[in-house]
Structures are given as structure tokens and as C-alpha cells.
């Protein structure tokens, strides 16, 4: 007897499938196709030429932007993880359950306001004649150029990713079985050894995911490198904007976008592999 077809589970899965199909897979296919099109007289014409790929990947300015973006995103991932860890550690191990709950709440609050608004705020704070330089000036320091630099961009990336990284790290640290930590002490591990031999390996998944999210969000971000980094040097996201603005070169922008997505796929796979992979 054949099983009766049960539509129920499929109905519930359908919205997600439609959404992903319409707004992710569809555009992706269109984008790949578009990267082979040509622009004539500021108009796109469907075609199949390798010219766009050749033009973009053959130029230094693409590769300069690529390496800058990759380097900055990696730095943002590492930096955010390092800055977040002491806070996450304290929230996971040193404070009461109530304090932790409030802290998580206050870490969510930044997401209430637009990231763009927060970056504008940083523009004021970091300006040559801004409050930070004013305070430093009292101490006889500065003024420092913080805006329109790699430093400015990094401040923006941290604004974007730090709360999320702290939340992910805190949850993974708080989930560690306390008996494991006590067992490490009991077996002669100093607090330092316990941190490196037990706490970090036990929280590995959350720590790697935190760094990965910081990397992914920073890699694709346009706001910070543009408004705080002054587009010097341009990142891939800025390159996409520039390319579409100058001469309606959507096909070439598509090449950049595909390169970005490919890089993120590789990074995400590597991270998941590192997080969940079995040690030999």
C-alpha cells in the first residue's frame, strides 16, 4: 500500500523555499548571467563574452581592493573576538544570572537604531575638531586624524559587530559544563592552563562562529569604509558602487559581487569545518 501524500509539511516549507528562490537563487543566477553581458551606449545587452571578467580580474585596482577588504575583514574578526572575550568571559563566569540577562538585553539595544545613524555619530566623535580630539588636546595630545582612515573604518566595523560577537561568545562560554572547569583545576591546571586547555576548546564553536560573523559582516559592509574610512583605499563594496555609477557597468559590478560571494562561501565553509570538525 502506498503512503498517502501528505501536503502539510510541504505547505509550511514553501514560504521559505519561495523566498530563497525569488530573492537569493534567482538574483544569483541573473547576476552570473549578467557578468557575461555587454554595456553599449550606457545600456546592458545580453551577450556571452568574458570581457568583464578579463577587465576586472586583470586589473590591479580590483586586486588591491580585494586584498584590502579581505585583510580588514580578517582583522575585524580577530580584533572583535579579542576585544569581546574578556567581556564575554566576565558575563559568563563572574556575574549573576540576572546581571547576565540585563547585559544581553543592553547588547541587543544597539540594533534598535540604524547602523548608519551610529556611524554618523562616530563621524562627529572622530572628527579633527571633535570631542575625542578636544579631550586629548587637554592632555597636550593630538589632534589625531582618525576619520577617513583604516582606523576609522575599523571603529565602524567594531560598532557593527561587537555586540553580536559578545552575545555569541557569552552564550557559548556560559554553556560550558562547570564540572569540566573544576575537573581541570582538580587535575592540576592553573587558571591560565584551564583557559587555554579547557575553556577555549569547550567554547570553540561559539568563538569561531563569532569571529566568522564579524568577518562576513565586515567583508560586505559599505557604510564604515565609505563614511569613516573615506573610501581610501576602496573596498570591494565601494568598488561595486563606483562601477555601477561610472558608465552603468552593472556586468562588471556583477563580477565583483560574484567574487565576494565566492570568498564568503569559502570562508564560511572553512569556519564551519573548523568549528564542528572532528579532531583526529
Amino acid at each position: 500500500m502506498s503512503k498517502r501524500f501528505d501536503a502539510y509539511p510541504y505547505v509550511w516549507r514553501l514560504p521559505l523555499l519561495i523566498w530563497q528562490g525569488l530573492f537569493f537563487v534567482g538574483p544569483l543566477i541573473l547576476m552570473v548571467a549578467m557578468s557575461f553581458w555587454l554595456v553599449r551606449n550606457y545600456r546592458m545587452e545580453p551577450d556571452f563574452v568574458l570581457k568583464n571578467w578579463d577587465r576586472m580580474l586583470g586589473r590591479d585596482y580590483f586586486w588591491n581592493a580585494y586584498w584590502v577588504t579581505l585583510w580588514r575583514a580578517t582583522l575585524a574578526g580577530v580584533l572583535a573576538s579579542l576585544i569581546a572575550f574578556p567581556a564575554s568571559y566576565a558575563l559568563a563566569f563572574r556575574v549573576s544570572e540576572t546581571t547576565r540577562r540585563w547585559a544581553i538585553f543592553f547588547l541587543i539595544v544597539p540594533f534598535f537604531t540604524s547602523y548608519l545613524v551610529r556611524v554618523y555619530a562616530w563621524q562627529v566623535l572622530l572628527a579633527e575638531s571633535g570631542p575625542i580630539n578636544a579631550v586629548l588636546g587637554f592632555g597636550g595630545l593630538g589632534p589625531f586624524t582618525m576619520l577617513n582612515s583604516g582606523f576609522g573604518a575599523m571603529v565602524g566595523y567594531m560598532t557593527l559587530v561587537l555586540p553580536l560577537v559578545v552575545i555569541l561568545q557569552t552564550f557559548s562560554l556560559a554553556a560550558i559544563d562547570r564540572n569540566l572547569i573544576e575537573a581541570a583545576w582538580n587535575l592540576g591546571a592553573s587558571p591560565r592552563e584551564t583557559l587555554f586547555q579547557v575553556i577555549l576548546p569547550a567554547a570553540r564553536i561559539g568563538l569561531i562562529l563569532g569571529a566568522t560573523f564579524a568577518f562576513i559582516l565586515s567583508f560586505g559592509d559599505f557604510v564604515s569604509p565609505f563614511y569613516l574610512g573615506g573610501s581610501k583605499p576602496p573596498t570591494l563594496s565601494i568598488l561595486i558602487i563606483d562601477t555601477t555609477k561610472s558608465g552603468q557597468q552593472w556586468p562588471r559590478a556583477a563580477v565583483v559581487a560574484i567574487m565576494m560571494i565566492a570568498t564568503l562561501f569559502v570562508a564560511a565553509f572553512a569556519a564551519v569545518g573548523a568549528a564542528y570538525g572532528r579532531r583526529k
Binding site: 559544563d177 581541570a184 583545576w185 582538580n186 587535575l187 592540576g188 591546571a189 587558571p191 586547555q197 579532531r279
Partner: protein, 333 residues
Amino acid sequence: MTDTDPLVRFSGVRKTYGTFEAVKHLDLDIGRGEFVAIMGPSGCGKTTTLRMLAGLEEPTAGEITIDGKRMNEVSAHDRDTPLVWQSLALFPFLNVKENVEFGLKMRGVSKPDRHGRAMLWLERLGLKGFETRRIDQLSGGQRQRVALARSLVTEPRMLLLDEPLSALDAHLVIRMQGVLTRLQKELGITFVYVTHSQSEAFAMADRVVIMGHGEIAQIGKPQEIFRAPKNRFVAEFVGRNNILPGKTPGQEIVVAADRMQVSASDPGEGALPAEFLSEEFAGTGIICYFEGPEGVELKAQVTEDQLENLAPEPGQRFWLTWAPGAAHVMAGT
């Protein structure tokens, strides 16, 4: 320091959490090579006592010495007091051998030496061939033995065990009891074993410490605790006995269930009339439950043959007697 001096001494130890007194006042000596079981109901302070010995909790007052040396301020990782956790607390991100090597690594033992000693202990506990297995690939009994190997590989003078068998199946518990007693005798080291299970404590320990409400209720050999409980708390906790009024007012006596004789006819003076309630198979015999004078519950352990001869029906009247030597007069309540 001589061999007759105790290895561990608790003097006037107290531990409070806020207003809660986990341990009120503890004086206890534990000897070298002794197997001591600390037993009591939940919240009696037995685990806190063990954790203070391991340095995981600091006493609020009093002093703990090991080998005559004051340990109060010595942190957990500087003590030689490995503990086997109820949850075992094996490191899931390390394989079997790496788990066993952990304590040696922390003590700076060289890699080849570490390997050799870990392999020796794995073999000793029947885990040869499992070195590279992950912890989640092991059975409950195997994990238990990994935890033991991890704690014993550093050759400590004492091993602390916190309800280590409570998560195991009944047939494995018996087998692990054998493994533990054999190990303890072979190594000649001190075992401090915390449990709420009498059968485990009585089967393995040289000496049993019964704790209640943060204090020691009685210390003695298993047989002493069972035959001669000091007070009502111990008698009730140990169970399988009858608590009866004594000759003088306020006095109470206790008679173990296996010292109680059941007869179908009135044998004369001193016999307690009782109505049969039910029977329960208890492994070593059958426990019969009766209702005695003034509704007091009475227990008598009989053999299967005796049960067949008596053929008790619920509500049927019997008489319970005991030899004068079988009754133990309790000191207080």
C-alpha cells in the same frame, strides 16, 4: 609524621552559604589506605565536605590538614586530591588517551613519559585499544574507567569519589564496586567515597560516616552502623530495621530486620503481636512488613522457605520475637 597519623584531618570545619549552613561542625580523621564512605540524604553536607577536601570550596571556619599540613589556603590545582565526578566530567574535546594524560601534562611530565603512563593505566583498567576513541563513542562503564584512569594516573595518595556509580545500570554498579575495591586494595591509597546509596557504602567501605543536617551522626564499620545505630536518624536512614520503645520511658531500641523471628503462634512473653501487610523481595531475602501495636510498622527478613511455610495472608496475625542480644539500645534521638 608516622604511618599511624591520619592522612586527612577535619578540625571544627564549618561551611556556610549566606545563612545556609551546609556543614555545621565537622571533626573527622581519615587514615592512610582507608576506604571511607560518607553517606547521608541529599543536602546533608557530604558533597560539600568532599569539595572542601579537594579545594573546590573554602571552609568558613576550622581547619583541614593533609599529612599534617594546613590546606585551607591551598588552591585546588596545587592539591593532590583527584576527584571522580558524578557526571565524570571527561573532556569531550579530547580523546581517551588525552583525557588520561591531562593531569600529567599539567604537571609538566614529558610527552613520552606521559604516553607510557597513560597506556599503562588504560591497560590496567581494560581500555587497551580505546586510546584514540572519542568520549561519546564509549559506553557508560568504559567512561567510568576512563575517569578512574585520569584520576589515578598521577599516583595520588588519595582518591575522592562523588557518587560515581549513580548514573550506571544496576549490573554495572556491582561490577564497578568490584573494580573499585580491588584497585583500592592493590594501590593501598585512601578512598573517600561520597554516596547516598547504602549498598555501595556497606559493600566497599572500611568505615562509614553517616552525615545529617551538616553534622556527623555516626562513624563506624558498616556492620556497627547497621547493628548498632546511635540514634533514630541513623536507624531510619539505614532502614531494614525496627525501632521500638525500650524498657525505660524515652528509650528506644533497634532490631535489625534479619534478627526478627516470625512465628504463627504466640510463643509467650516478649512477643509482639503483628498483622501481616505485605512482602518485598530484597535480593538477600524477603522483607515482610507487619503492623504492630499502636500502628507501628515492623519488618522481618525471612528466607523463601520460611515464607512458604508461613504462607502469610494480609491481615493474618503473627508474633515477632528477637534474641536479647539482637536488640540495640540507642543513645539518643
